[in-house]
Amino acid sequence: MRIQHIHVPDQDLLLLADGELPKRRSVEVRSHLEACWTCRSRLQEIEGVIADFVHLHHSELDPRLPLAAGPRALLKARLAETAAASPERERSKGLHSVGSFRAWSYALAALLTVGLLALVQRDLLPRTTRLAGVKDGSAPNRELTPGKTRPVTWDQVCSDGYRDMNRVVSPGVQRQVFKEYGISGTRRQDYEVDYLITPELGGADDLQNLWPEPYSSTDWGAHVKDALEDRLHQMVCEKKIDLGTAQREMARDWISAYKKYFHTDKPQSIDSANPAEKSEHKVGSVKSTKV
């Protein structure tokens, strides 16, 4: 027999009102509400607070809303501009030009090189990685995160819109990465799930290319890696190094790569190494805000 006098907790009342209660429980709660004036008035009180909050929310913020016309027109113009410079156009244009064909072969060769080198490393290097900083997590576990690329061309990587592509790591994927690395609970707040090979340089959205990078436990943190990514991207687009080399350097040992390309043994300060600001909440963050 159901015990009718045990009242429904506020949380369930709110879940019911929001249509978020599992079906079976919602039948139970509804039938309790029919019988119980106390819970029914409690639900009304909750609805009352919600109404007051919604009113406050709008009365605080609505007066500050801008008119739609200006921003809408601006967006349309920028969309047209972005569409004109899109990778699709670049690509179809590229298929008919010798220069781009060369870039294609170049990228393909680079990908092959990365793959072959990785195979060699896999066989020759000891399984336990000997990377600097690996103990504090600033370098990934190579077994779990060897790095993975997607097929991209130099033209794509260096097109205007490319650097601004979003690189949100979804919460689901983040959880998988944390699970892989055995990081649980509140400890997860201390890490950013980051790409080993940055997507800006053709890094893949794949578990093999993602690892939990500590925010602050080391000098070699996320912001230092960001600076290296910027530097490598710049060098690739200035044709100072090829794309495959950049990908390989990131995948093998990004800290050594930093030392090599910044000509230093210690990370430079955030401000001097990377004038672009560091994100406050890098987990799942969008990498670039420049348009």
């Binding site: 949380q11 007051d52 913020l61 969309l79 569409a83 899109s86 979003n166 892989e180 794949d206």
Partner: protein
């Protein structure tokens, strides 16, 4: 540890991108503008509630919908676009706020600090407009942990629990607990 082919630490993808279907740009542009029309106000309110000034809110709006365009152009996941849009807006807003605070600390932009956190300090004028009950409610709201405020604001913009969970990177249960707790606090302040 997940199963992976032992011989492919870096997987080679030799099927190059010509196999992608070229996106139909003008159709996508219209779709993005439609979504802009639908979500402009909710996104803008949310950005303001995170403590951004109106100018920053406008920038964020543009960035969010340009990012959406690229997202769609690349043929990425279309499931729950509203959740995706809010998540990007959330991340960009926090990033902008952090940058503003940093700039203000450096003293490069005097007075910008006040703009970056208008919600923390309502003006005397604003206070007068509020009646007593609303002023109390508003004070309680501001005193809530930031994450709790965000849950409330997102819910007020019509997001379902799973969308809120995704935007904030927390569990469904945390969303439910947060909302219940916040409403209870506000209710006590109202003396209901």
């Amino acid at each position: 540890m997940p199963m992976r082919p032992a011989d492919s630490p870096i997987a080679l993808q030799l099927v190059v991108t010509t196999t992608d279907k070229p996106a139909h740009s003008s159709g996508l542009e219209n779709e993005v503008v439609d979504l802009f029309d639908q979500l402009r106000e909710p996104i803008f309110r949310y950005a303001l509630s995170l403590g951004l000034a109106a100018d920053d809110g406008e920038d964020i709006l543009q960035e969010v919908f340009l990012a959406l365009f690229r997202h769609l152009q690349l043929g990425r996941d279309r499931a729950n676009l509203r959740g995706w849009i809010f998540r990007v807006a959330h991340n960009l807003s926090l990033k902008r706020r952090f940058a503003n605070q940093k700039a203000a600390r450096r003293g490069e932009a005097g007075g910008e600090m006040a703009d970056t956190a208008p919600d923390q300090a309502p003006s005397a004028e604003e206070q007068m407009v509020f009646n007593e009950k609303r002023a109390r409610l508003s004070a309680v709201l501001r005193a809530l942990p930031e994450q709790d405020q965000r849950c409330l604001r997102l819910r007020a913009e019509g997001l379902r629990y799973r969308e809120i969970a995704e935007v904030l990177g927390i569990s469904l249960g945390s969303v439910s607990i947060s909302l219940t707790r916040s409403l209870a606090r506000m209710q006590r302040a109202e003396g209901r």
